[in-house]
Symmetry: C2
Subunit: 356 residues, 2 copies
Amino acid sequence: MFYTWASEGPAPMAGGSMPTIDEIARLAHVSPATVSKVLNNRPYVSSATRARIERVIAETGFVPSQRARWLSTRRSFILGLLVPYTSDQLFADPHLLEIMRGIEAEANTREYNLLLSTARAPIDAASAFTRLLRSDVIDGAIVVETLDVQPFAAALAQQPAPCVVIGYARDSDIPAVHADDYGGALAATRHLLALGHRRVGAISSSPRPYALDERLRGMRAALGEAGLALDEALLATGDFSPESGEAAAHGLLGLPDPPSAIFAFNDRMASGVARAAWTRGLSVPDDLSIVGFDDIALASMLTPPLTTVRQPGYGLGQAAAALLFGLLDGVAVPPPATLATELIVRGTTGPPKGGG
Amino acid sequence: MFYTWASEGPAPMAGGSMPTIDEIARLAHVSPATVSKVLNNRPYVSSATRARIERVIAETGFVPSQRARWLSTRRSFILGLLVPYTSDQLFADPHLLEIMRGIEAEANTREYNLLLSTARAPIDAASAFTRLLRSDVIDGAIVVETLDVQPFAAALAQQPAPCVVIGYARDSDIPAVHADDYGGALAATRHLLALGHRRVGAISSSPRPYALDERLRGMRAALGEAGLALDEALLATGDFSPESGEAAAHGLLGLPDPPSAIFAFNDRMASGVARAAWTRGLSVPDDLSIVGFDDIALASMLTPPLTTVRQPGYGLGQAAAALLFGLLDGVAVPPPATLATELIVRGTTGPPKGGG
DNA sequence: CTGAAAGCGCTTACAG
DNA sequence: CTGAAAGCGCTTACAG
């Protein structure tokens, strides 16, 4: 058995045997203009005519062509969701799914759909990504700053449709929403310090979105409060994946003077750290404390459950979409306050073995 | 500071100050038809004219209007990705992200974009979901059968654009691709049985896609081979979330004659089972063996790492997209073979304490 | 309240 | 090789 799809025309032809507005008009003995009015719930149609037209529409199962509508109304009810990424790993992040969920929820209330577009770095002028931005397909765009958005800020700024960034978009006028990365990292590091840790390792990423710079800044600030400075030898780098966190942790723990705690800048890398500890026979948190960032579902399911900084992925998505709709409506919208992060203390942090 | 977005027209107007094909034609001293030819890389344009037009295009930064193009070509280069779901939990599934990744990879090779549409059950004729299917926005659709697709099979079958289901779509002619759910569950249960387990619990879901029926069928078959039957008291139900798996596990483990092994029909619920065991002070796998399904990234990061049935999410997405493109190209495509699943034995399964 | 006409910005035969 | 004309299926003033 083979599958085929019976197409009416020579070219694949969405719309199939759908009647046009002209046929509906003919059947209802009115003009297309009048049909258009009832299609768009506009006044100035007698109830008799309206009823007649509605009956014909119901009988024929007519659905107006969006494509034609877009051409005249200049509104597609489609939002572009642009996610640049380097590695496939990054696209595997549950945090991204949370963001999408938030955007989708907000978009749903306005009957908007999401057009997903990804792009491998480096993003050049010829990429699908840039082409979409310059096209008239979408009414607006939300860019998830999974990479530093800086390199293509120019393209974003000069594109025709309004756009907002989930991230920082620093040095540009592009509206941005982000979580309190600095504050979250500050709180997490203070927590470790309060437990008595003095040698704290960190796992950042490369390439890294600006959010991670903020986290590192928060961590340094907390260390500074305690009169400490970050030992640069304890600053490792991953690519957001669990495997990279595991590798980075092995590097850190193999040092002559290893850290007693590791702050991984996302939960997936933190889970890799936990795995490295397990492999080395280290007990968590007795031999090693671990803190993550994001609070993805995985975090609370690890054994012991992961201490982490909760970041409102859903809220970020929702806020970004709401901001974008504000721009689309032409109202001046206040930049949303930085969304709060929250330290969630669970089982992977405790006093260091040597005593606090 | 407030954000605004400067719109040229009264209505939000993607396209902004983009010139039209007529202006390009005028600037290049040719007709729009000729510009169209070079835009579409068609022959029969003298190289001089072509060069002139290309220069004007480059100078003006002209990008042709997709909306107008769609109306005449009847091809939008957009695929609908339809994900019906009941709970937000379901949309939080990393397995879904894997599927999307596969679809996206395949779509990228054809310069197609993905339009994401979700829908809450029950799906009625008026929902955004159905409206999208009946519209001419998309060239084709991929439906992820996260719920039983049966209730709206009719809507799928009569829609204008070709469509494929990732799942079973039983009793319908809709092309479908799915993993070997039956075989995977068979292998997992055989593994448990070989270790010596005799009381094996299961956690299915409600509502459940047909794939889970297949898994249950595979499990029953393996039990049958061993001369056993599934004790219906050991068949629990969750909603795919870790929390629901945890609750179901507590129910099972609180039974007078509890199971020595639990087969959760997805990894997220399996992680909940591990958590329930941990809470109850049960050691895994000594006191309780656990098997999951999917092999999401989380699986190998649990401690001990989860024994599970690997399902090729990426491959499913890719196969579905390839199948859909085949239909779009009008070639008769063979239904892809059921994609293989694979039992991945890790740390959560072992002989029962009582001995094998 | 209703309809004729023009327009949205492309592409597609067809004639030259 | 090039262009005039019609058409894709709607919506939008405008006149009646």
